[in-house]
Symmetry: C2
């Protein structure tokens, strides 16, 4: 698979979408990205797993990171890409291959940016953070993450979205006692016992705190459920995997305490926990970028790697094409004008004539 | 693995238990059974899949089938077998390798029975009936199933258990709409929607009809539950697999109608359905056997292949060692005295001196 970086940014988005790259299956797309960036003489390219880093080294006084993930959620009958009027449809058009295409276009067409740039295209953002390419890069090559400011091309309608919500995953389980299903009164059904647990989830009322003038919106959802031993056995265990998205005014510890109290008598095992990031718009580098691109600033609901930069002391915002409410939905699409606007505004900010 | 048919029936049970044979993994045990029966000159042995049939052909006026299944439910930390005082512990001791050992002992030690005997040791009784060895045998070699009367060695405390309950499996599902779990208000959670469905199952009140003086006891249980797309996606489907065990006064059609009405507004797909069998003790061959072995007659709660014989016009009862309420339980075991009693009573009935 060969990517043509001389194509316009919309065609390039379609090229990226048409290379399937569900999390843990990013070899093909990372190979294509590496092959496309490798020959560019103004960039130094580094590959780690299926994460590709390309840097300018012009000795500028400021360095910025512009980053995007290459993976998508599972295919849902929404490939290949399909252009229709002002929209490009398909898995990853919005989250976030439009942003990846902008990154590749900037890397190819701005050989002498007014600030040094580190472009990062990374793997496994959509799954457990243990696999996250940016997290692995921060461990293996922390110098490649150093910057005065970072922009994540996560979908935000081509507007700046500040901060992000934290995310916690936990397994909540009910237990019972196995018995032959023909003599069910001899055992106790763990799946039936999950009824009040699911009812409690269905009745959950989300917090909506206001922080720095931005209104966040929490969520607590079952994302998986499993239980069962055999077709004629009463199940002795039912596991509900929940995902809690919490506003950045709650710490990781506070989020965990809330979840444990919410599920009360049930067995709760936390399996994944990542903090949110406060909006942080007071930092000069962030303020300068916001002024350059203009427009309103919104809160970011999804967890994004701005939190990862935040934790490293690098101020970061989300700024990318696409409506984030369409991410992970079957009918995912992106307005072509937003991809073009993001490229134009970032190229101008980086000094492309 | 070699089986020693000259060993006593309890040691032989332990030998069979120590050959793991979870459904769909019966090759080793069927090979051992075939190798043990093959050399006996008074038997004609036929193998179909992992089902082994051994027949006498003495020209007697009556032929009886004595049958048992070789498979077990999944291992649950209860192998190998362990003898302790008057009990033999371990997976399959009760359901139903004690009965299988009785069959093998009768086959080896009663070379000239007073009625012709067809011994059947078959595969895949514990799972979907599509795989059931006896069902497959009835299709491929119906003449091997012909008999005046059949005894299934299903656990029944070494007493006659008459009739059996029917079984129906169905998938009941809820649907929703996928969305990113960080913006859950944009979608609809199919797992949360399963709460009232599970609550309805938990509140189910079983029927307990009396038939021919025997009290049956129905049951309706979730045996599996599954749902989920990815750790950060609201699930758009949740599937609950249920198992309805119905008394033999209900037909298959009546059972299906009950389940569809019970789940009302939910999507119900029936995946497996087998009728029960009425007690049928009025048939002469059944009455003669009951009189020969003596003792009280109880209803059979579990579905067993007596229904399969019943449908072929062959009267059949359950008669085997072990407490059926221990079948499929972690602590499964069998009283040694019951295995010995079954062998003794059947051998006497077949005319062993």
């Amino acid at each position: 698979m060969t990517l043509d970086l001389t194509a316009d940014v919309v065609s390039l988005t379609a090229q990226l979408v048409d290379i399937p790259s569900v999390s843990r299956d990013e070899q093909a797309i990372a190979d294509a990205v590496e092959a496309a960036l490798g020959p560019l003489p103004h960039l130094t390219v580094t590959r780690r797993g299926h994460t590709v880093v390309a840097r300018t080294s012009l000795g500028r006084s400021e360095r910025v990171v512009i980053a995007g993930h290459l993976d998508t959620v599972p295919v849902n009958g929404n490939l290949p890409s399909r252009r229709e009027g002002d929209l490009l449809h398909g898995l990853g058009t919005c989250d976030m291959k439009g942003g990846d295409a902008v990154i590749l276009r900037l890397a190819a067409t701005v050989p002498e940016p007014n600030r040094d740039v580190t472009f990062i295209l990374y793997e496994a953002e959509e799954i457990d953070s243990a696999f996250n390419g940016l997290r692995l890069l921060a461990e293996s090559d922390p110098h490649l993450m150093e910057a005065d400011f970072a922009i994540l091309m996560e979908p935000s309608n081509a507007l700046v979205e500040a901060g992000c919500q934290g995310t916690l995953r936990a397994e909540v389980r009910t237990t019972g006692e196995r018995a032959h299903s023909a003599r069910s009164w001899m055992g106790s059904n763990a799946i039936h016992r999950a009824a009040p647990l699911l009812a409690r989830l269905a009745a959950y009322e989300p917090r909506r705190p206001v922080i720095d003038g931005l209104t966040y919106h929490e969520g607590l959802n079952a994302v998986f459920i499993r239980g069962g031993v055999a077709g004629n056995v009463l199940p002795d265990e039912c596991v509900v995997e929940v995902n809690y998205r919490f506003a950045p005014d709650r710490s990781e510890a506070e989020a965990e305490r809330f979840v444990r109290e919410f599920f009360g008598e049930y067995d709760v095992r936390v399996t994944d926990l990542a903090p949110g990031a406060l909006p942080g718009l007071a930092v000069p580098a962030a303020r300068a970028f916001v002024e350059a691109v203009g427009g309103p600033v919104n809160p970011k609901f999804g967890w994004t790697d701005v939190a990862r930069f935040s934790a490293l002391g690098v101020p970061a915002v989300n700024f990318g094409p696409g409506d984030p409410t369409l991410a992970h939905k079957q009918e995912e699409h992106v307005p072509i004008a937003q991809i073009e606007a993001c490229e134009r505004e970032l190229a101008t900010w980086l000094g492309r004539p």
